[in-house]
């Protein structure tokens, strides 16, 4: 016999389930505010902490090159009402330049390699080979950055400095931008090695996304293009890549974000040299993220807290760069639309 609607047991079950509805609804609503709250908290703390440094360092912070904590045992001076050690002077230009240089070089190197990899995996390799290779590339994205940094400083850096950089430095013509490839090649720690390792770290991010996107491109337009006499390369350039362009932009920006914020690998490989922009691509340097991680320890010994504050200002600049990249990517993606369909749909 079926229980009727009047049956009290039905109503009780119903109430319990209504309560479950509410629990899900409110749980999800509250939970989804936590990332917003967390992000706001982080940004607010960053601004509060950076404020004294912004007041004292002024606009020079962006252009000056020294990073001098001053004499922490000496007198305390007040500038604009902010206490800081005598002789302290902070300029973040080398850090900003280093961050942008390494990330841009990394993306410029990684993007074509990632596209080539994705194309080889989807169109050239037989399935039995493509599957494990794709998995391998995906896994590469998940390796801890400190392990990659260890490999960079122990193996690839010295290898490049001994066998590759001297060849390049000796044979490159001394004209135009190639001049940055001239000069002493160092021991494998520096700008170029950092960029190459960062590139290796972001290739998997771009490549695995692009591979997934390529696999979603329908066969029909590609077959049509081949029927019209397109070569493989022309199909890739005219059909496959334009079809998923916005997705590739998104993945590239994700990679760029990772490179900008990457800390451990760069801290290990860059040489962590403060105070100057590297004159050549081989020179030692540092980035904002690497500076924060390597300087926070000693900054904590500054009794006035000004060193910590200056690191916050550097961190704020990094956060602003990361946000700007994110916004630009959104603008690009929304302008080109979700799927750019270059073939007529009529």
């Amino acid at each position: 016999m079926w229980p009727t609607r009047r049956d009290p047991s039905v109503r009780r079950v119903g109430q319990r389930r209504r309560r479950e509805d509410l629990a899900w609804r409110w749980g999800a609503r509250v939970a989804s505010w936590i990332p917003i709250g967390g992000l706001s908290f982080v940004l607010i703390i960053l601004v509060i902490k950076a404020w004294p440094a912004i007041v004292v360092n002024g606009a020079d912070f962006l252009t000056k090159s020294q990073w001098l904590p001053g004499n922490t045992y000496g007198g305390v001076v007040h500038t604009h009402g902010v206490a800081h050690p005598m002789g302290s002077s902070y300029g973040a230009w080398p850090l900003i330049a280093g961050t942008l240089e390494t990330s841009l070089i990394a993306v410029v190197i990684a993007l074509p390699i990632a596209l080539g990899t994705a194309f080889a995996l989807t169109e050239l390799m037989p399935a039995w080979l493509a599957r494990p290779l794709s998995f391998f590339v995906e896994i590469l994205a998940g390796l801890p950055s400190v392990v990659i940094g260890l490999w960079g400083v122990l193996e690839i850096g010295p290898f490049l400095a001994h066998h590759v950089y001297p060849l390049v430095a000796n044979h490159v013509p001394n004209v135009g931008p190639f001049r940055y490839l001239k000069g002493p090649v160092g021991y494998g720690e520096g700008l170029l090695t950092s960029s190459l390792v960062l590139g290796l770290m972001i290739v998997p991010i771009i490549a695995s996304t692009t591979r997934d996107l390529f696999m979603q491109v329908p066969a029909l337009p590609k077959e049509g293009a081949v029927a019209l006499g397109f070569t493989e390369a022309e199909v890739a350039r005219r059909i496959t890549i334009p079809w998923v362009r916005s997705g590739i932009v998104g993945a590239t920006v994700l990679g760029l974000g990772r490179a900008l914020g990457e800390t451990m690998a760069v801290a290990m490989i860059s040489g962590s040299v403060l105070g100057k922009v590297s004159p050549t691509l081989y020179g030692t340097m540092t980035t904002i993220a690497a500076t924060i991680v390597s300087q926070l320890d000693s900054a904590a010994t500054d009794g006035t807290g000004f060193a910590i504050s200056s690191l916050a200002e550097a961190g704020l600049i990094l956060a602003v760069i990361a946000l700007a990249v994110n916004l630009v990517a959104r603008a690009i993606v929304s302008r080109t639309g979700r799927l750019a369909a270059p073939v007529g749909r009529g």
Binding site: R17, E20, D21, W24, A28, A31, S32, I34, P35, I36, G38, L39, F41, V42, I113, T117, F119, A120, E123, L124, V137, E138, I139, L140, G142, L143, P144, S145, V146, V147, I148, L150, W151, L154, E155, I156, P204, K222, E223, A227, G229, T231, A233, E234, L254, L260, G261, M264, M268, A289, V293, I308, L311, A312, G315, L318, A319, A322, L323, N326
Partner: protein, 297 residues
């Protein structure tokens, strides 16, 4: 895609001009070169980690406590596992619920805010999160180097991974499931739990595993929130530092003693094995479920 290749005429007059023929050959060569440029260094990297650690590997590393630049890694292994478990609970619940909100209940416009925050957090520099954890939680709130500070910062960092994979897993559940559940008179929450989330579970678990592997491999947000210790983790959330594997890789690789290098290399190997295991499990789950899934891919 195979059809594309098969329909390519193979006689030598195709493509028509020499330049196009050259481009086609160069293009193919370049893509294979690109693949090699990714795979070769990656293989070198993984083999390098194994080759550095294995010659000096001793199993008691797993069972003895660290003495800083010598000794074992038991405290770091347990610490990393504790951190991962904590992240699974905190970031897991927040991330899954956020994903549910984004996929199922986002009739409200404020879902856009959550989505924006998650997108930004996904690309946010982890060291800046670590800095804020140190300044605000460890120093500002007087928590000291502590498990709770580390967990909160780490969770904030990986919530986007979980929320996004949950959202996309939920979106792949066929609408007919939801319609069927509604037609049977299931209330929304009940249908969500018994029908929708159940069929999206493999995707959710995969996202969780990926997030945990990321959390286990992080260094920058932990250095100034979890601190460092040679002891096993305690049960107190505050004022007690926690050891973790990445710390030993980072601090011991350039210490002036061979033993320290062994510690660093061993920690790197254990980390890689741990992370790869989780990623492989995640992959197996995906492969298993895709075989049975209808219509996806």
């Amino acid at each position: 895609m195979d059809q594309v290749k098969r329909t390519t005429p193979s006689d030598h007059s195709y493509p028509s001009t020499r330049r196009r023929r050259m481009t086609a050959v160069i293009f193919r060569g370049a893509t294979l070169l690109a693949l090699a440029l990714v795979v070769a260094p990656a293989l070198w990297l993984v083999i390098g980690v194994v080759a550095r650690a294995v010659p000096h590997w001793q199993w008691n590393v797993v069972t003895t406590l660290s003495q800083g630049t010598s000794g074992g890694l038991e405290n770091a292994i347990v610490g990393t596992l504790v951190l991962m478990a904590g992240v699974a609970v905190i970031a897991g619940s927040i991330g899954v619920l956020t994903g549910v909100r984004l996929a199922e209940l986002s009739r409200l416009r404020s879902g856009a805010w959550a989505r924006g925050a998650i997108d930004i957090l996904a690309g946010f520099p982890s060291i800046v999160l670590g800095y804020v954890g140190y300044v605000a939680l460890c120093v500002g709130l007087h928590w000291g180097f502590s498990l709770l500070a580390a967990l909160l910062i780490l969770s904030l960092m990986v919530v986007p991974y979980i929320a996004k994979s949950t959202e996309s897993a939920l979106r792949q559940v066929p609408t007919s499931y939801r319609e069927g559940a509604e037609a049977l008179g299931m209330p929304e929450g009940y249908a969500l739990r018994r029908v929708v989330i159940r069929s999206a579970l493999p995707g959710i678990v995969t996202g969780l595993l990926i997030a945990l592997s990321v959390a286990g491999g992080e260094t920058a947000p932990l250095l100034y929130t979890a601190g460092a210790t040679n002891n096993l983790p305690t049960f107190s959330l505050l004022h007690q530092p926690v050891a973790y594997l990445t710390y030993y890789v980072w601090t011991d690789y350039n210490q002036p003693s061979d033993v320290a290098h062994y510690v660093s290399n061993d920690a790197a190997l254990i980390l890689v094995v741990l992370v790869l295991t989780m990623l492989v499990v995640a992959r197996v789950i995906v492969a298993r479920t895709q075989r049975h899934a209808e219509g996806t891919r």
